[in-house]
């Protein structure tokens, strides 16, 4: 393993994803190659159906590739089974989803505690309270998701994503379901926490403005990597 590859927290080589359909085999991603350094923020952009969400799912180990390899903090995902990938997610990965994906039967505090509890962390509660304070929801600890606004739910999801101090944070259209005011608030929160924690951020979006806030932008089109360009955040970050 080269020194360079050790610095890369994500390394993608020849990544291909094919699925079987009634009409035959369909290639969703083809020969994708790129790498992401630790602490870097990267936006994956592309039109609907371009394959960006599939790429995110493969990077996070939620799905398996048909070809090629992904190294996540040095671990080759293709050699791991689902349980081992879950272990890696528990240790190193945080998520923020477009549809918040909160467990409806748990309160805001319990939702944030969930990943730490699954990892057996005994300080789950204090960490969760601290994070909820950071996202400005210390007064909403005992509220259930259905009692929170969309923006509040996403803030809970962001707090949950940062518990356990993950190395990599995957965000799938985090502000797409929110109005612009709440959307901007969430985006700012996400980038701030990312910076504070030194987390690597992989952000899937079709919002060019949001993508521009990242250091690099990976453009996917028709399942192929069209372009990697620098975002405006490169000068800031």
């Amino acid at each position: 393993m080269s020194v360079l590859s050790q610095l890369n927290v994500i390394q993608v080589e020849g990544l291909t994803k094919r699925v079987s359909t009634l009409e035959g085999e369909l290639t969703i991603l083809s020969e994708i190659n790129f790498s992401v350094k630790s602490g870097e923020s990267v936006a994956i952009v592309g039109a609907s159906g371009s394959g960006k969400s599939t790429l995110l799912s493969l990077l996070a180990g939620l799905d398996t590739a048909s070809g090629g390899d992904i190294r996540l903090d040095g671990d080759a995902l293709s050699t791991l089974d689902e349980e081992q990938r879950a272990c890696i997610r528990a240790e190193k990965v945080g998520f923020v989803f477009q549809s918040f994906m909160l467990v409806q039967s748990l309160t805001a505090l319990e939702n944030v505690m969930l990943p730490a509890e699954l990892a057996g962390d005994k300080k789950a509660k204090s960490q969760a309270i601290e994070l909820l304070e950071k996202v400005g929801l210390s007064h909403r600890l005992a509220h259930y998701p259905s009692q929170l606004s969309g923006g509040e739910q996403q803030r809970v999801a962001i707090a949950r994503a940062f518990i356990g101090s993950p190395k990599i944070l995957f965000a799938d259209e985090p502000s797409a379901n929110l109005d612009s005011k709440n959307g901007h608030l969430i985006e700012r929160l996400l980038f701030d926490l990312n910076k504070q924690n030194g987390t690597t951020l992989i952000l899937v979006t079709h919002d060019e403005q949001l993508a521009q806030q990242c250091q690099r932008i990976i453009h996917i089109e028709g399942g192929k990597l069209e372009q990697i360009r620098e975002g405006s955040a490169i000068n800031v970050g």
Binding site: D63, R89, V93, F97, F100, S105, P115, L118
Partner: protein, 833 residues
């Protein structure tokens, strides 16, 4: 750490009502099985006890001849309780009054089952005792006190002996239900028989041995006894075929069993639906947990803990509620009966807890295994894993489990196979019908935008899901209709057998000249009475000139018709009638032709016993007078009615050819007692058989069983409602989504509400109609095959089915979605997200 999380999630899911249906379904299955099996067991034990009471033993052995064998010794060695009885007639004498009494001498152990009802004085209240009179005392029936003009404490002569009258005999458990032996009953100690000197060689006496013990002891003893039985020795079991109650109680047992099976079936459907739904609702949380790094092991532990907790809590609550319910039910029944029901053993507890565990495991395991397989990718691709929900394995395992549960509960493979198989056929037919109905609805072409067209569109859109829902609704309604109709038919059938105005006293040995004064007495006292039947005794001497003894073939005591056997061995009571009596049906030949020849119609049971054919000539001997009659018909006789029945009925041209006495029946009230005694004194040849207490006992048992059936039916109804609720709840999320879309598109609340209401009305009415169709046809078969009740179509079912289906489904469905419709669109959207 996962333990805390598991408990927290469980508590929250429980509070949110996500586990309510699955919890209620298990609890209901446990409650159903527990209350049914314990009530059935308690009623069963009581029925057995009551039936045993009718013969004062579990088995009895009767003969016209003395038992010289060591039957009693061997029985005692087998551990059986025994008692000896001797029946004979003897003259009673007191205060210059002489009367022929029917004496029953009983040994000390009598009765082995049931109680003897007596009074200390004529004007005191009756009470029950176990045992008969002591040596030197006798107990007399009330009528004899008036006839002999004696009181308790007086001495009467019976045969050559003198005895002190110590009690008023009201009833013995094994008193004949209907017999022409007379009402002048005397109970005597067996040891006093010799003192009367009434039993001599050649005397007409009847011997009886009573046995009681466990079924196994009795079976072992009978195995030993069977080869030794002589032709004139008759072994009787508690399932006395001619006890009018025996048949009804057996039917009630079958009904309770059937209802229990239906209850289980419904609870199982509710459980399968709700378990599947619960697991589906957990797809997202599980996908999320997996995404957040939760291992399969942890997720498995969390949800198996949920299953364990649900099972434990629901079984405990099911047992608790079941215990309370059966306790209340049993107490209520006991009040009706005036006796405590025997306590049930451990079986209902074990059986119902076991069934709860089996239900929980079998109906939840497959959905749970599916749940563990939910891919984490579902967090991004929301429909991923949905196909897991349509699982053939789950369906097959659920069906097999239902089958196993039914078999376990009923212990009857044939009944289970019939019910289960027919239900599968019904499901197939219903699926086809429902698809056809929905596609027909599509062609109706209602105006767009109306509530009706929206309702029909919604039904069509979810044709498959609706077909499944429809099947569940129809099955639930079918089972409920089925039980309601069966209950009504069975109870009305019983009430017909033992009507409120049934005669409770029979008058026999009425000379022709006494008919008019007795009729006048009845009319003056407002006593409703039946016609006066001519009756005489005759011995069946020969058939086609062949002596009867040679024609009798030895048959197995138990299988042979009881009345036939006893009847052949003594002189049957004959009558003549111009019409076929009620409860009788000609099954072969024709009713009397009206010619000069004397004809006879014979009870079918005697056809085989006497090896008779149509056209045979039977020679009778009545009081030294011989006459012949030609067999022109065979009749089936419903021994279950309280009407007088005759094994041989002669043609009306017998009138005037032979001396007869007459027989009638009336309904007496307690205020008639004294006048009746005086009437009997004025007409000393006339005897009265009082069956009032027997009739009351029969009616109270029927009331008890009817009540038990109502209780069982209500449990089945709750199970049915649970199926409906679980089904509606299963489709609630989808409905919510539709409401959101329609609201967003500007549909008025009223339109949505009406569309939902109409959808449920349509669904319920169709389900109800199909249920009525299937249940009424199935009822025809089951009533005839299983319940021996005359099957008939029930018009009211065809109205009740669709109407109750529509009302039931619409009210439950509407109530459940009404809450959804009250929320604003934003609130719903948030919930959906």
């Amino acid at each position: 750490m996962w333990v805390k999380l598991a408990f927290r999630l469980f508590a929250r899911e429980f509070r949110r009502g996500e586990l309510t249906i699955i919890f209620a379904a298990i609890a209901l299955a446990v409650l159903t099985v527990f209350s049914l099996s314990s009530v059935t067991e308690r009623i069963g034990l009581n029925i057995e006890k009551k039936t045993s009471d009718f013969i004062a033993a579990d088995r009895r052995l009767s003969s016209n001849h003395e038992f010289t064998e060591n039957y009693l010794d061997i029985a005692s060695k087998e551990g059986l309780e025994t008692a000896s009885l001797l029946f004979f007639d003897s003259m009673l004498f007191a205060n210059d009054e002489l009367v022929l009494g029917s004496v029953k001498a009983v040994s000390e152990q009598y009765p082995l089952r049931g109680m003897v009802t007596i009074k200390d004085q004529l004007d005191e209240l009756p009470y029950e005792v176990r045992g008969g009179p002591k040596v030197g005392s006798i107990w007399l029936s009330e009528g004899l006190f008036y006839t002999l003009n004696v009181n308790v404490g007086d001495t009467v002569e019976l045969g050559a002996g003198q005895f002190k009258v110590s009690k008023v005999l009201i009833n013995e458990p094994d008193a004949p239900f209907f017999s022409l032996a007379g009402n002048k009953r005397v109970l005597l100690n067996y040891l006093d028989v010799a003192k009367t000197q009434a039993v001599q060689a050649g005397s007409r006496v009847f011997h009886r041995l009573l046995f009681a013990g466990t079924e196994q002891q009795l079976a072992d003893y009978y195995e030993w006894l069977k080869p030794q039985l002589k032709e004139n020795q008759n072994w009787e079991g508690i399932k006395d075929r001619q006890s009018p109650l025996g048949e009804n109680l057996a039917r009630a047992e079958r009904f309770l069993l059937l209802a229990g099976l239906f209850g289980i079936m419904l609870a199982a459907v509710a459980m399968a639906v709700s378990a599947k739904r619960y697991c589906e609702r957990q797809y997202d949380p599980v996908a999320m947990m997996k995404t957040l790094g939760g291992s399969r092991q942890i997720i498995r532990n969390i949800f198996l803990t949920h299953l364990g907790l649900v099972t434990l809590v629901s079984i405990a609550i099911g047992l608790g509620l079941g215990f309370i319910l059966q306790h209340i039910g049993a107490n209520y029944l006991a009040q009706f009966m005036g006796t405590q029901l025997p306590e049930a053993g451990a079986k209902p507890w074990l059986l119902s807890a076991f069934i709860g565990v089996v239900c929980a495991l079998m109906f939840s395991l497959k959905p749970l295994l599916d749940l563990f397989d939910i891919p984490p990718l579902r967090v991004l691709r929301r429909n991923l894993g949905d196909k897991l929900a349509i699982s053939k394995i789950h369906m097959v395992s659920s069906l097999l489990t239902i089958f196993a549960l039914m078999w376990l509960f009923s212990g009857q493979i044939i009944l289970t196979l019939i019910l289960f198989g027919s239900t599968l056929v019904v499901i197939g037919v219903l699926f086809a019908i429902s698809r056809a109905l929905f596609s027909f609805g599509r062609k109706l072409g209602l105006s767009p935008g109306s509530s009706w067209s929206l309702a029909i569109a919604t039904l069509q859109k979810r044709a498959n899901a609706n077909a499944i829902q429809l099947i569940s609704f129809a099955l639930a309604i079918k089972l409920m209709l089925f039980l309601v109709v069966l209950k009504n038919d069975m109870i009305s059938d019983w009430e017909m057998q033992v009507p409120e105005d049934a005669p409770n006293a029979f008058f026999i040995n009425i000379p022709e000249q006494d008919i008019s004064p007795i009729t006048a007495f009845f009319n003056n006292n407002g006593i409703t009475h039946e016609a006066f039947y001519p009756v005489f005794n005759a011995r069946v001497n020969a058939v086609n000139g062949e002596e009867l003894a040679r024609r009798l073939s030895k048959q197995e005591g138990e299988e042979q018709d009881e009345d036939a056997r006893e009847g052949v061995s003594r002189e049957p009571n004959l009558t003549w009638l111009s019409d076929v009596p009620e409860g009788n049906e000609i099954i072969e030949g024709e009713w009397f032709s009206g010619g000069d020849e004397i004809e006879v119609s014979v009870f079918e049971g005697w056809k085989e016993v006497l090896d008779l054919e149509l056209g045979d000539t039977i020679s009778f001997l009545a009081n030294e007078q011989r006459f012949d009659a030609k067999v022109t018909s065979f009749r089936s006789v419903d021994w279950g009615t309280l009407k007088p029945n005759f094994v041989m009925i002669l043609s009306p041209n017998m009138a005037g050819k032979i001396p007869v006495t007459y027989f009638s029946a009336g309904k007496l009230e307690s205020q008639h007692n004294k006048d009746i005694s005086r009437l009997l004194q004025r007409h000393p040849t006339v005897s009265m058989i009082d069956i009032k207490s027997r009739l009351e006992q029969a009616q109270s048992i029927i009331a008890q069983v009817s009540l038990a059936i109502g209780f069982v039916l209500s449990i089945v109804l709750v199970s049915g409602a649970l199926v409906l609720i679980s089904q509606v709840q299963a489709s609630l999320a989808e409905r919510m989504q539709e409401v959101v879309i329609l609201r967003t598109l500007g549909a008025k609340g009223r339109l949505i509400k009406l569309a939902t209401l109409y959808e449920f009305i349509l669904l319920g009415a169709i389900a109800g109609f199909v249920a009525a169709l299937v249940s009424d046809v199935a009822l025809l078969v089951i009533q005839q095959q299983l319940f021996d009740v005359e099957g008939r179509l029930h018009l009211y079912v065809w109205i009740l089915g669709p109407v109750s289906g529509a009302v039931f489904v619409a009210s439950i469905g509407y109530f459940m979605v009404a809450n959804t419709m009250r929320q604003n669109t934003q609130g719903l959207l948030r919930k959906l997200s």
